[in-house]
Amino acid sequence: MLLTSYFLAALAIVLAWPTPLALSKAKWTARAPVAAVLLWQAIALGGGLSMIGSMLVWGLTPLGNDLISALHAGWLLATGDPSVNFPGVIHLFALSTAFLFAMHLVLTLVRASWRTTRQRAKHRHLLRLLSNPSQTRPNTLVLDHDLPVAYCVPGFNGSVTVLSRGLLTQLSADEQRGVIAHESSHLDQRHDFLILAFTAWHEALPWLPTSRLSLEAVRQLIEMLADDKALEVVTRPVLLRAIVGVASSIAPAKTSQDSAMGLAGEIVGMPGGEVSSRRLQRLLSPVAPLSGFQNFVVLSCTVLLLVCPTILLIAPRLLSW
């Protein structure tokens, strides 16, 4: 049990700091956004699991040789069975910390989802008053404004894509198809759940710098995923022109507003006027997707990150031999 708790603690530290740091710098993620998104989830889940697990297992060490017998002994202790030795204050402290930390993570997620749901409901209500259904496209609303904007509002009972009049007048038909394919892939693949999970993760652990890195990385990766979907419908130059068309008319208005606020998480263009965001780079100079073997390696790591802490939690004695 003791060795297991140390191992889990080491895993938690590795997953909390060096691994996300390395992954956020890695170049291959642009070549395999799907695998990269899965890996990010495994890192967050495995990290949380091993953080909680290490404290739980360590706290239970005096009570038994594996999780089941320790939990059983803990139950006997709680019900006042005199045959079980009191495990000591430090171990109780570790157990309480594990419990509180787990509750903290769950409650942050609940709070974030509740807040998001409420904000979306408010947004939808205003949309209902201000927008008109598109004549030609299903589940699409048109907002009367000159800025070319496209976005989607996910929801359980019907997600909607919102396009502005500016988008419909300023972009060519092909470019519009690219934008809409991009947006609907966000909706189809429910990227909002991903963002919600990583936002909550970041809110729960704001002192952990890598929680912000992972949120930003996942944000970029889902844009790449959506771009890939859009490229099934339109060609690369069309999609790029659409991005330029939308970005250059919005960005000036945006930066003037934001310069004071310092919008967090925005990728700032390099001084030399280069294109720094990875999403654009991979559209400008396409890179080959990862080979089958490379993908296999990444997916194996993903699975291992989830399986290892789980197995060690259930059967901590595996490491004592």
Binding site: A150, L240, A251, S277
Partner: protein, 123 residues
């Protein structure tokens, strides 16, 4: 019978388009004039809708007169800009709406990207 949501929209449209504050009676007559099933519309229904809209902060009520008169608390344009701020992530609630199409691309980048695209086009 139109749903409450549709009525909210019709009422807001009337208030936005009207230069002056309107009473519930004015609104009911205007709705009836539009001819959308509103002939049987009772003033109390309009008042219910107005109360809902007031609670949501969309409508302001003048209590000095009898009957009370209602105005839209801010213009259609202001609300649209508010929605776009949500969408572009300029508002506090960034995650309310997912995936602005241009997510994470700066003005500088847009400019240099346009230059790149133009140079490709001319070749």
């Amino acid at each position: 019978m139109a749903s409450l949501g549709d009525l909210e929209r019709s009422v807001m449209d009337l208030l936005w388009d009207s230069a002056e504050p309107l009473t519930a009676n004015d609104l009911r007559d205007a709705l009836a004039a539009r001819g959308t099933d509103a002939k049987e519309l009772a003033v109390t229904t309009v008042l219910t809708v107005l109360a809902r809209l007031e609670k949501k902060g969309l409508v302001a009520r003048e209590r000095s007169t009898r009957p009370h008169r209602y105005t839209a608390s801010s213009s259609r344009e202001d609300h649209t800009v508010g929605l776009l701020n949500d969408a572009l992530g300029t508002a506090q609630d960034r995650e309310a709406v997912l995936a602005r199409f241009i997510g994470g691309i700066s003005a500088d980048e847009a400019v240099s990207l346009r230059a790149i695209l133009d140079s490709v086009k001319t070749v």
